[in-house]
Symmetry: C2
Subunit: 180 residues, 2 copies
């Protein structure tokens, strides 16, 4: 699936592996992330499959950049993937819930400590979604040629915001139940 994240960006413009890592970190990372090493190896595989092509851009006093470009076959692959509707719900993995599920043997105090720690973390996330992230997207939506994109980006931001709110609410409830 990382494949389609990379193709999505390369459909806008050409980028190096390094560029793509930076882009993902500031945009899709809330719902899709990847390590730099995986990005490099995946790009290499995509080139072998004829979905992207690369060329070297020489630089002075910095290592050369290998810049990737999407091919026609890549564009088709991407379009096809986006237009194919998902007919199932994605199954998630939530380590915190797994720990909680087996926490009856643990002393209640350390469970509460962990949940309170998570409260702080999710509160910070929420603030970020409502602050910096929102501002950045609003700037894009005021520029003409980015307006259409910005609408979709805003939808993914909003998901992050609602998710953080839901998580905090659940932590509040759970802590309250365990305290009594």
């Amino acid at each position: 699936m990382l494949k389609y994240a990379l193709l999505g960006f390369l459909n806008y413009s050409t980028y190096s592996g390094y560029d793509l890592k930076q882009l993902m970190d500031v945009s899709t990372s809330n719902f899709w992330h990847a390590k730099q090493s995986q990005i490099y190896t995946t790009l290499k595989k995509l080139e072998k499959d004829g979905i992207v092509i690369s060329h070297i851009e020489p630089q002075e006093s910095r290592p050369n950049r290998r810049v990737y470009e999407i091919t026609e076959s890549g564009k088709e692959d991407l379009r096809n993937w986006i237009s194919q509707p998902m007919t199932t719900i994605e199954s998630r993995k939530e380590t915190l819930l797994l720990k909680l599920f087996f926490s009856s043997q643990l002393d209640p105090q350390s469970v509460l400590t962990e949940l309170r720690l998570q409260q702080n973390l999710h509160q910070a996330e929420l603030t970020r979604f409502q602050g910096v992230t929102k501002d950045v997207i609003q700037q894009f939506s005021s520029s003409e040629d980015m307006q259409k994109e910005a609408q979709f980006w805003e939808a993914t931001r909003r998901f992050g915001e609602l998710y953080a709110e839901m998580y905090i609410r659940w932590l509040d409830e759970t802590i309250e139940n365990l305290e009594s």
Copy 2:
């Protein structure tokens, strides 16, 4: 991490790989799932590491069962994992959001179709969490020796319920925004 899901169950009782798959499917699968093949190979690895031990239980007219038991070292490992607090937020992967992020090039109608399909799926999930799942846990909580466990199971069920509600709300909002 599947390791700890398996150890968590084996801490209650001895089980075969088949049993563990059934158990996970009806309990943790909303926040932790695994394929049968992964469960079998992981159990084998855990035995090599001395965290569980197994013995064969012969059966008539059915294949023999290989039943696993947690060792002392396994119990310690599990306790240690549960008591170690998580100091970061887990990063999720949401394919639907990834698709949406790159959907500006697609025709708006097919995006809406996909979102409406997801609405139905999540509505069904929500109903399940509020119905069957809730009933099962309530039965456990009325039996004495399961009461403590049931409290934690209920917390994970409640997460599923809130998540489904949040998801539906987000889909409602997003569909409305795209329609206008």
